[in-house]
Subunit: 156 residues, 2 copies
């Protein structure tokens, strides 16, 4: 099954995509991140089929990205909250925003602005090195095999 | 059609997902980023169907994420190169790596390491504010409507 396969690859990109690798999951995360966190609200906001939403929420809960909390007992109703793991996944959304604002917004400009708490300014994320704090982008790194790399294929 | 719909939403996340919103496209980008850039190479490396790979490459070229270059005239053969737009999309891969390494690597550790040119250290990306350079993560921002926001619905 495709889902299992991506998660089994020795690649952190593939494994991350195994959790959010289709358009709906990141948009569900986005909704929950901005406080749209009940099934009916998300379903209406995204105009997503109930079947697909149910399936995606279940998957995200199983992967500990979301937690389900009862907010009503009769009838039983639930809202979804981000776990620490899920909240860190929202960082990825901020990087999508930066790329999308730059390359897809056109003359209308960014649909949404992000005001940074620390400085109070509307800004964007920048990628910097966790060691030296200098800019660190895809062009600024060498790619090396890590400890969890797939074993090299031994040729006869 | 679903593809058109995501690109039409007033949301930079949805518009970005319209370009790379399924598992294959980011993995194709990853391959091209590390120099696996010919059709046959990518097809073998990812074990992807030729039909799907053809379709995804065409879409990424149409979206100006990739450019096609002939490397042989007889027979006609092409390789794919990242545009500036595509290279900036690879920044997103570095953020996926960070999340995937942290939450999906387990005891084996990261499959791949990234050595930063500026400091020579193996490290990870950190998200920082483009204005003040302090850390800027999903928990550090207020979300505001931007100039390209969808018009508010007027209720009768």
């Amino acid at each position: 099954m495709q889902r299992t396969r991506f998660g089994d690859l020795a690649c952190s990109i593939a494994r991350t995509l195994d959790v959010i690798g289709e358009p709906w999951s990141p948009l569900i995360l986005r909704d929950i991140y901005v406080g749209i966190n009940r099934f009916e609200q998300i379903q209406q906001e995204l105009d997503i089929s109930r079947k697909v939403l149910t399936e995606r929420l279940k998957w995200l809960v199983e992967n500990e990205v979301l937690q389900r909390h009862a907010y009503s007992e009769r009838p039983p109703r639930y809202e979804y909250r981000l776990t620490a793991k899920g909240l860190e996944l929202c960082d990825l959304l901020l990087v999508m925003v930066r790329w999308g604002d730059r390359w897809t917004s056109g003359e209308a400009g960014p649909p949404v602005l992000y005001r940074h708490h620390a400085c109070g300014q509307v800004s964007h994320v920048q990628l910097r090195c966790s060691v030296c704090a200098e800019p660190m982008r895809a062009t600024d790194v060498d790619v090396l095999p890590g400890p969890g790399a797939a074993p090299a294929v031994t040729r006869a």
